[in-house]
Symmetry: C2
Subunit: 330 residues, 2 copies
DNA sequence: TTGAAAGCGCTAACAG
DNA sequence: CTGTTAGCGCTTTCAA
């Protein structure tokens, strides 16, 4: 069995209370005893049992992160941000891949509350009433990142998807594009779907252009769906000179289709992405994209959790990273 | 305060022992009491405190995963595999990004043992004596994935890097390539460096070709290093018709450089990768690559952990995924 | 089939 | 400055 606090106490000839004070850096002992105890700890290899500590302190120094996918660069960056912030506060991070499955999500929610995590970060996925109710009943602090919830009860951190999408399209318009296709999430997606579609339309309208439904094709943010959507869009023969995709991955999918058809980028077709993950750097040509500060959003989400009840939602700024996939038509 | 087991016991008019038996599905109660207790649990929203359970059971149903990076597809796939296996056994996964930093690694090792994880999976990074000694002293079960250790004390799961590299190069040779460049990790890397270099050389020699040091350029497995290595290799003017890179990411880097120079792939230069992550599918042309079953390796690593002392290391099979980046010269 | 009670490893009054 | 002791929420003999 591992050495425990009482062993240390005995070996050092002091009480458990004293050892506890020392390892927790509380006041109440002489420098002399401190050194002695520390030496015993060192020699014995004592590692306090965090389960016992958590039990009495009602704090596990642990959080959970729920996300719908582990395989996108978006997730990776988010996790990195969260992990970095958590590490700096000595807290452990449980990762939970929900696979977009309601049942898995509920089971993870339950597991995390049983493990008495100090908070839960819910990422990229719409927070349904079911989830929200569970969290409220279990009284687990939660923060949302890159999403929001029905009733706005939980603090969130995200970019303004409407403005971001609008700015991206305006960027293309400024460069002389008039016929702009859009590959995005479904309109019934209240976060990455509808607002971005509305932003796209607003940008066109503000420039006196006419947004048509046929200019839009739908995907699920992953590569393959970008390939398919580009094929569909191009097949409609609308004469687009540029296409804006709602994720870098879908933009790469679009580019892949264009390459395969021998349509040169950006000479014959400009492509713009959304996110600015490393996908945008590894593509050829490199991808001009709407940048979300994903890693910073992850860090911020952790902070929201730590802020407790007085946490305030934050809208992070977006920006445009210009690379080589958009042609200047002017 | 959350409702606890003793609350449930009181409300159901039974003892805590009985409730405990019921939630743990142990024998020793009538169907009638079971139903009553279950109803109370349901109505009260009781969630057993896993910290308390862990304290008495000496089992936390939790593992830790240490990896040097979170931002590669390799990591993502590995985590997915581990998480899937863990989820199926109701165990939580702490992710720990060491950033290839010894100090962070040691701190995480310490955090994980304090949290009394049931095991630690150590990925992609050479297990130094320091780490190994810590694990042995703390008596935490550990398993290695995509790596191994100095003293071979811990079970591991990996592919045979030597054979894999050799097979990849033989594949190129079979397609008529004679001048083959190699972009790989440093020779002092005992896993992804040296063995792959030796495999490369062996393949050449076995075909009567002469492996030269100048045919090799070094990278760190990431995209940018692939770009640089390709530039260097090409600059040497050795007339390569193919280049083999020790990671898909580096292969994409190489392709990016070739694209930029107007060198067509695979017509003027064939490119082959290693891993078969989604990077190989999103590139254009799609990448022919040496496939490691990364996700399965993750699952297997978890199983090794659960197998306890009688876990046996396993070499996973590799294969070659043919796509469009290698030209047939025959 | 059930309950009383000791104990898992630690913290925090409280007393000295 | 230091020790005693009563929990934290659960499991598990042992006895009934």
């Amino acid at each position: 069995m591992a050495v425990k606090l009482s062993d240390v106490a005995r070996m050092a000839g002091v009480s458990t209370a004293t050892v506890s004070r020392i390892i927790n850096k509380l006041p109440g002992y002489s420098e002399e005893t401190r050194e002695k105890v520390l030496r015993v700890i060192e020699e014995s290899g004592f590692q306090p049992n965090a389960l016992a500590q958590g039990l009495v302190n009602r704090k596990s120094n642990t959080i959970g992160v729920l996300l719908p996918s582990l395989s996108t660069h978006f997730s990776s960056l988010l996790i990195r941000g969260i992990e970095r912030a958590a590490y700096s506060q000595s807290t452990g991070v449980f990762i939970c891949n929900t696979d977009n499955d309601g049942e898995r999500t509920m089971e993870y929610l339950s597991m995390l509350t049983q493990k008495r995590v100090d908070g839960i970060i819910f990422a990229s996925e719409w927070l349904t009433d079911d989830y929200a109710n569970f969290l409220k009943k279990a009284k687990v602090p939660a923060a949302l990142v890159a999403t929001a919830s029905e009733d706005n009860h939980f603090p969130y951190v995200k970019v303004d998807d409407y403005s971001a999408s609008r700015d991206a399209v305006k960027y293309l318009i400024q460069r002389g594009h008039r016929k702009i296709g859009f590959i995005t999430g479904r309109a019934d997606d209240p976060i990455a779907g509808r607002p971005r579609i509305e932003g796209y339309r607003a940008a066109l309208r503000e420039s006196g252009l006419d947004p048509r439904d046929a200019d839009i094709a739908f995907g699920n943010f992953h590569f393959e769906s970008g390939v398919d959507a580009m094929a569909e869009l191009y097949g409609r023969g609308l004469g687009h000179t540029a296409v804006f995709a709602s994720s870098d991955e879908m933009a790469l999918g679009a580019m892949s289709w264009l390459h395969a058809k021998g349509i040169s980028i950006p000479e014959e077709m400009s492509v713009m992405g959304y996110d600015d993950t490393i996908d945008a750097r590894i593509s050829y040509p490199t991808l001009t994209t709407l940048r979300q500060p994903i890693e910073a959003m992850g860090e911020k989400a952790f902070e929201l959790l730590m802020d407790g009840p007085n946490a305030r939602s934050v809208i992070m700024g977006h920006s445009i990273t210009s690379r080589d996939s958009v042609r200047d038509l002017i």
